[in-house]
């Protein structure tokens, strides 16, 4: 026997309709479908039937009241014999929260803050004690702090050949770790105060959908139920684990790698993608001997080969080994280390490592939030499909960021977050960005945006190309580096920028100009005729455009 709330059903567009008759009184015994009220809308009068059979234990409306979808009519004590029925999706109760955002990573907190700025009452749910998600806590930000440390070490070292010798660095891992944590702490603390200033209600706990308009949050202080009118899912992704590996604390993912254990003299990175290569860069600079094993035939799959080549040449010299087309056959945990057996065309000999970093990708968390209870469709890989307005198949529930699919990048999540928040607030926004930049903060950095040559060739797109090698850039030589280059791909007929790639110091910052160029529909002349300051690395972008235009004087390019 249970008591259920009976509410005014979905009235479509009709709002604030009058109760012209109450057909039951408290204590009445009802059968399912017995009429409870008569309402009068603009078009007609209609009876509201009881969804279940039972005894009416309370009545909250009277004749003449104005009601709307979701208004409580009364409570019915369900008859014991009444079969549990599955009522049609009920509207949200009138006292439900405007907007609940699930997950406080870059996507989640951006969505929450934008929605709050647009006047919505927002509740932000986060399962960890700290806001900021993977990006701030165990991703982009701490890794960049460590990469900065790595860069300082390497630049100091490289100046030895030019007459400035610092000697070998003395590295205090504990202080380095503390400094990294302080960087993270500053940003995370900032987020908490930003939430407070916007009156965004932060709830800590793990959330699970219990219906299309309700969630349950399991937190340290118990379980609570939240009713919502709209919801934005920003529950992110997690590192993929490799099956068949032993359970050993020396096998780490990117989060573990950020703890920079001092006793790691020899590191194996499994996965030659961006995350693996960035951490390889840190450990190399901190003095570990690094090996990288990659299943495919190339490092950083997805990036154009020519962009990866300068990085590959550099790390081939510095790292112990780079094994392509190779996988780990077995990994054996020994007291002295982890013994890796490889399977690949070169039949590499087994090697023992102090740590093994598994960085083989991330999988979306779509299957961890009870999405089915809300009727949301989730793919087998945990991804929730959305439309251009970031709506899931349940129109009042949105999904953004990693959980909405690749590319899993914080800057994609924040952009989607604003779209979702604006649509939830009734604005006519949609995701129509034309490009999303990708950056590997390795040394040298690799960055690309828009069309790649790989995509152009696969899609049969005819394109023109302007390239500028940094060996001809005074600034690049002055910072003691010459391996970088900049290239821009153009539409041959409109001469507009289709995409571009940069490899070299600060490539991740330089790529911004090309992203803007694509969004603005700039053509080669627009970029070439924009005065770039001299001597900067940004000049190389202008010069690549000039190379395509045929107006470049810093190189001699024979007439085509």
């Amino acid at each position: 026997m249970s008591t259920i709330d009976v509410r005014v059903p979905d009235l479509g567009d009709a709002k604030n309709v009058s109760v012209i008759e109450v057909l039951v009184s408290v204590g009445a015994t009802l059968a399912a479908e017995d009429p409870l009220l008569t309402l009068e809308t603009e078009k007609a009068t209609m009876d509201v039937p009881s969804p279940v059979g039972g005894k009416l234990t309370s009545l909250s409306v009277k004749k003449g009241d104005i009601v709307t979808s979701g208004t409580l009519i009364g409570t019915v004590e369900r008859a014991a014999t009444d079969a549990p029925s599955d009522p049609a999706p009920a509207p949200a109760p009138p006292d439900a929260l405007d907007l609940v955002v699930l997950g406080a990573g870059p996507g989640g907190y951006t969505a929450a803050f934008r929605a709050a700025d647009l006047g919505m009452k927002v509740t932000l749910i986060e399962r960890w004690p700290m806001l900021g998600g993977v990006c701030l806590n165990v991703g982009c930000i701490p890794s960049k702090a460590l990469l900065h440390a790595a860069k300082v070490i390497e630049e100091a070292e490289s100046m030895a050949a030019s007459g400035i010798e610092f000697g070998a660095p003395r590295i205090d891992h504990e202080r380095l770790r503390a400094w990294k944590n302080r960087v993270v702490g500053k940003l995370v603390g900032g987020l908490a105060s930003l939430a407070k200033q916007r009156k965004v209600d932060v709830v800590h706990g793990t959330a699970t959908f219990t219906g299309p308009h309700s969630l349950e949050v399991h937190g340290a202080d118990g379980t609570r139920r939240l009713d919502f009118k709209q919801c934005i899912i920003a529950a992110g992704s997690e590192s993929v684990r490799l099956p068949g590996l032993p359970d050993d604390p020396r096998i780490i993912d990117s989060t573990g790698a950020l703890e920079i254990p001092a006793d790691c003299k020899r590191l194996l990175v499994v996965g030659g993608g961006i995350i693996g290569l960035e951490m390889a860069c840190v450990y190399d600079a901190l003095g570990a001997r690094v090996s990288v094993v990659e299943l495919s035939d190339t490092l950083m799959p997805g990036a154009d080969r020519d962009l990866v080549r300068p990085l590959q040449k550099r790390i081939e010299k510095r790292y112990e080994r780079i094994l392509l087309n190779t996988r780990i056959a077995t990994l054996e945990a020994r007291s002295s280390g982890l013994l890796a057996n490889f399977a690949g065309p070169t039949n590499p000999a087994p090697e023992e490592f102090d740590r093994v970093l598994v960085a083989v990708g991330r999988s979306a968390n779509g299957n961890a939030i009870g999405a089915a209870q809300a009727g949301i469709t989730v793919s087998a890989r945990g991804i929730i499909a959305v439309d251009r307005q970031m709506r899931t198949n349940v129109p009042h529930i949105f999904a953004i960021g990693d959980i909405a699919g690749a590319p899993m990048l914080a800057h994609k999540a924040t952009h989607e977050a604003k779209v979702a928040a604006e649509v939830a607030a009734g604005h006519k926004s949609a995701f129509d960005a034309r490009c999303i930049p990708s950056v590997a903060y390795t040394d040298p950095e690799v960055a690309w945006v828009g069309l790649t040559e790989i995509e152009a060739k696969a899609g049969g797109i005819d394109y023109g190309k302007g390239t500028f090698p940094w060996a001809a850039s005074g600034r690049s030589l002055a910072i003691n580096r010459d391996e970088g280059f900049t290239k821009i791909l153009f539409d041959k007929s409109t001469r507009r920028v289709l995409g571009g790639g940069i490899v070299g110091t600060n490539a991740g910052d330089l790529i911004a100009e090309l992203g803007l160029a694509i969004e603005m529909g700039a053509d080669a002349a627009d970029i070439g005729l924009t005065i770039h300051a001299h001597p900067t690395l940004s000049e190389t972008v202008g010069m690549s455009a000039e190379a395509f235009e045929g107006t470049l004087t810093d190189l001699y390019l024979p007439k085509r």
Binding site: Q389, R391, M520, G521
Partner: protein, 440 residues
Amino acid sequence: MTSPIDVFVPDIGGFKDVSVIDVLVTPGQQIEKETPLITIETEKAAMDVPAPLAGLVAEVRLKRGDKVSQGSLILRLADATAGEGAPPAPSVAATPAAAATGSAPAAATAALGTPSAPTPAATAARAAPVAAPAVMAVDAAAFSKAHASPSIRKFARELGANLGAVVGTGPKGRITIEDVKAHVKRILTSPPTPAAPAIPTVPAVDFAKFGPVEVRPLLRIQKISGARLQASWMNLPHVTQHDAADITALDALRAELKAEAAQQGVRLTPLAFIVRACARALQEFPAFNSSLDAGGDNLVLKQYINIGFAADTPKGLVVPVIRAADRGSVYDIARALGTLSEKARAGKLTATEMQGGTFTISSLGGIGGTSFTPIINAPEVAILGVSRSSHQPVFDNGRFVPRLMLPLSLSYDHRVIDGAAAARFVVHLAKLLGEPRNLL
């Protein structure tokens, strides 16, 4: 001597690509300020473009028939005498962008559809996105290719404007905020343009909810003719003129000739006489035997009279055509009618037998009815509907006499045919049918 000055088409109220119907000046001509230079024809009216200042016409840069918009170059004035009050050159050669800015606030207001005075079009345009929030009525593919910056794309989404249909006037064809406003303004102020938005659809109903149903596909001919009928009904402004012809004499003549016709192996139906009478009337009124050309600017008058007649067959409605219905005898027409009807019923009509019609008759006389409004077999411009004849009291010479009256319903394309002409046509047709011997 001052430097040559370019004279451009001034603000013409947002019209684009209007025709130059006359060029009123020639090179070498000395003109005064306010001398008309060209005549252009907008949707609403023809207007002259006057000279902004006096001078010698050095070069005329457009010709009759050209399409121009605000900012198009008309001519080049050499030796522009800075006559009294002559404006300085920059304002003469006002760029379209600068001139457009002046009307921007008005455009913005119209585009956003101020709630105080919603025009029907504005309401419709605004209602759509609200009714379907999940799917914005925007062509995503065209949107993603439009030469417009992110801020313009955002603005266009807010207004529900389809960027793929907006013509950019900025540098290198870039779409500016003014272009989006002008586009929305144009859509709101001129709803019945040829590229009008799709008509609202009839909502789908789940009939099975209310009782058992059977689903049967439309006949192939129904599908084909359905689209053509709808195209005609929506594109042609139809008017139907009703009248009745006295066919008492015709009926008597038909009875008289029955035996003779049978000898010749033909059945002399009333329709044969109606076809012949229509052919005569079409000779008299050639506009009814015409079509508008594709551009809608010219009338194509056909020097042949081929009359189609609607034939009801088991497979659907078809319209076989009687060629040269103005030649030969009524027996020839009757014979052609018989042959074509037979073939139609058997489904053996060839494509050529259903082509080339210039006028159509739809006769329901054998079934019943007093009048109806037939749909024109476009691109023809008129169709005659014939209902069932009946004896009616007709007041004649001070008394009522019973006459056999045939109801006629002529639908015509009002773009081509005036009401008076239609009335005259039907009166003339009735007169022809009243004197049947002349039709033999």
